[in-house]
Symmetry: D2
Subunit: 298 residues, 4 copies
Amino acid sequence: MGTHNVAFLGLGAMGLPMALNLARKGFIVSGWNRSPGRGAALTEAGGRLAESLHNAVAEASCIVTMLSGPAAVAAVALGPDGFLTAAPKGAVWVECSTIGPEAVRKLAAAAEAAGVQFIDAPVLGSVGPATKGTLHFVAGGSADAVASARPVMLAMGDGITHFGPVGAGAGAKVISNMVTATLVSAVAEGLALGERLGLDREQVAAMLGEGPVASPIVKLKAPIMLNEQFAPAFQLKLMEKDLGLALAEAHRLGAALPTASGAHEAYAGARTAGMGELDFAAVSAFLRLMARGPLGRD
Amino acid sequence: MGTHNVAFLGLGAMGLPMALNLARKGFIVSGWNRSPGRGAALTEAGGRLAESLHNAVAEASCIVTMLSGPAAVAAVALGPDGFLTAAPKGAVWVECSTIGPEAVRKLAAAAEAAGVQFIDAPVLGSVGPATKGTLHFVAGGSADAVASARPVMLAMGDGITHFGPVGAGAGAKVISNMVTATLVSAVAEGLALGERLGLDREQVAAMLGEGPVASPIVKLKAPIMLNEQFAPAFQLKLMEKDLGLALAEAHRLGAALPTASGAHEAYAGARTAGMGELDFAAVSAFLRLMARGPLGRD
Amino acid sequence: MGTHNVAFLGLGAMGLPMALNLARKGFIVSGWNRSPGRGAALTEAGGRLAESLHNAVAEASCIVTMLSGPAAVAAVALGPDGFLTAAPKGAVWVECSTIGPEAVRKLAAAAEAAGVQFIDAPVLGSVGPATKGTLHFVAGGSADAVASARPVMLAMGDGITHFGPVGAGAGAKVISNMVTATLVSAVAEGLALGERLGLDREQVAAMLGEGPVASPIVKLKAPIMLNEQFAPAFQLKLMEKDLGLALAEAHRLGAALPTASGAHEAYAGARTAGMGELDFAAVSAFLRLMARGPLGRD
Amino acid sequence: MGTHNVAFLGLGAMGLPMALNLARKGFIVSGWNRSPGRGAALTEAGGRLAESLHNAVAEASCIVTMLSGPAAVAAVALGPDGFLTAAPKGAVWVECSTIGPEAVRKLAAAAEAAGVQFIDAPVLGSVGPATKGTLHFVAGGSADAVASARPVMLAMGDGITHFGPVGAGAGAKVISNMVTATLVSAVAEGLALGERLGLDREQVAAMLGEGPVASPIVKLKAPIMLNEQFAPAFQLKLMEKDLGLALAEAHRLGAALPTASGAHEAYAGARTAGMGELDFAAVSAFLRLMARGPLGRD
């Protein structure tokens, strides 16, 4: 296995701190980002910036992608300028974006055709854990490929669950986000109903933050719902997208998921009402307005 | 304020341990239960059993009710045989059942007409906390009435949140149960989707039990969903009822709650399919079957 | 029974043409409206305008109310200035607004206390049928009261269904509106999905307008959805209110209605996004935007 | 174009009367069915029964498939025994099953590879129109292929709408079924709520059958809901499948459809509760039970 030569594609809010952790822990890191100027910190940490995708992956034994969605991943991987045409045979591609099982299966087929091993390894945890190196990877792929990529993942996180073959990691990730999003909209509905019943929003938030549903996400997002400062840690429209990915898989398989469907409608409504770029906790602002009822009261 | 003489009406799975804690902590307790034979333990703990509602409350300065629903509470309180006709003027009635704000307002009006102070004080926590005396009371009523009942509540629990006037405690409780029920059905949907995607149910449960939604209720119910042993700690049909109470209040006020509505449909479907007497975690068995899809696969 | 002396309270978009039909068919009509200036046409048709509620009903054997909602009806009926204090004993009050069974029961109790017979008689049909005198009344109340009011209703409409005791007419009306609203949002979702699949919106509308769901409301509203001219025949927020009334009754009774709940979320979302004052067919504009998905596409 | 030599694959409840119409109108028809013994009527009408798929299509210029779902269509078309390996180059395949756009796209690609023209042409209308030859075809494919198949379709129906390229017909069909299913469950919810409000079910059905939602499907299914004789004209589980196909397409595209999602949950619940083999109007029996609420009332 040895020390990997890592190409890191996508130096965004998540990708940059992940790449920095790799560089600081001694991996040879070639970073690439669509918009330039994101990589000064990487150079300082001992990595280098590649001027092209082909250049970034030319020497890589491991390629990590951390991008915004299926279209962005396809854009860097496929086609004549995509990295797969330049990647060394036998390299392992660790796809960390949240793109859903269906997109994963297509990318894995393209990787196989290019002689590249593929694992889908999206992460649980956002910017904080990415910075601290405490992400948890939920992985899908062959046992060999996962083993090969293990040291790279453990330089960026502190846990790996291997869920099964290609697509299993993506499936696990959309499930995690689906349940998280549903809990957040449920809490938002609790606050909205409480307000209409004349209850104090802070008291309701405190009750939920200490009782049966007390959990990291409630402790993180309930205060944000109260102060309504929705600077995005994770954009509402991206959470809507992940809920949609989960439901697309469900309906492809003939499964009805009533609770998650209700949550999806809340996020989709909030995005339609103009809140898509805010943090996903802003679903509470939409639900609060919706709870005021048709005849208005303020 | 002094030490209360307490009438405790309803010695069921919750009521009996609550009454025992009162007796053990030195309160004079007159217990009453619809079906006799529940009270031996109370006598042993120093309380007494009353042969009638009127007899139970004749000397009481505080009356606690802990019953199955609005009809049961109305049956013990109202009418010529109801306790309100025999309760001393000025006594404080602590209504601990989960019956919803609308029923509470009707009972409070009857209490006021009988010269009895009323607080709605449903509890967070089930049989375990009731036994250990660690319930949390969410109370509605006048400041005076809540202050008067405080020592009684603190003999049965370790926390009180006073949410506002009569009805506020009932509102808080249905909100807590609504969010709890929604999280449980969301987790069940995550397990069901995971299974259809070929993921291991134990791995999915472990992921949810440690990540953003990790919370007491997930830790408690996820193992039960896995082993499908649904001996009722809290019956599914009662959780469906509480969700319905929350939605009834919401719709009375013109509020739409999409996520909770989805959860309600899951519990109502499970009850319709014959699972109402099981623990509410059995919603996972219904959702698992539903996720198999229309064309069957085993 | 004889010819009624009718007080008509509420000369809005529906009420005015209804009052005109009464006047033209020989009833003595005293009209009243909160904002003055609505009644010139009534005077021309042989009616008169009353300067106060008390004055309007002083001689009435039949009082018709046609107002915007429960608060408006309570405002004209109850309190010292409400018409009930001035209405002749034995008069019959025909309540035609859409206000839901719960509000109806409260009003009926107040009427009974004032010695006034009450029937709830909301109408099927909007401005067109009101003008042509082809409304259909769905009535609740005693057989005697309904019989007494029959000639008044038949001067404004061409059909009466007596559904049962007080509240039954209100129940029937909210059911009719609930199913109508649900069909309209379902058609809107069909158009929205079709557009995303690349289908021509006019072809989809034509298919739905001729197939299994072809019905008066589809034929009326599908063209409006296509041209997106949403001048209100019936405001979206009022349809949302009626759906909410139906769901409030359902949840009060412990019933889950998944399809209507989904429709309610669509209308509530559309109102929250600012479309409440438009015709309720505007739910299609909201659903069309929502169907564009989180990552935008134009 | 001329008279087609037609291979008709799938002689079920829909396929047999369609094939009979072709034979009676002078087309040369080779029928095939998985289970033998369905074809006596076809022979009497002048057609012939083929002993194998290859034999059925050997001389065909047009191949019609009318089967239960995507798996059944794939089974007759693909693989070494599938008809595509034996179909004459240039023949046109008219795929009439309801299988969804995604499955259609896969089949069309296989047809193209085999040199066979493909159109998806599912039908509006069930056994009655199939027998009378009054089906309406909603078609997707090239203009040439649709033109070539036109006389075949017009021998089995009386209308064709060409919605666009391959997949457009399948999309239109799932939209039609989605709206139909949603209207039927909405009517069922109206009946269920009415019953809980004490209204007469026949009166409610009559009101809905004459008012804004009066439509062929309501007139057909409302009486079946009243008498609860659910011999299947179209099985509930197949309607659930079609709703699921529509929602799968919607979620693949990021679209939320709240009303249709609610309807899907009703049908999926009914199937889970054991009603999948009944007519889809049986969703009313499920919703009626669900509306009884958690605490039972008869």
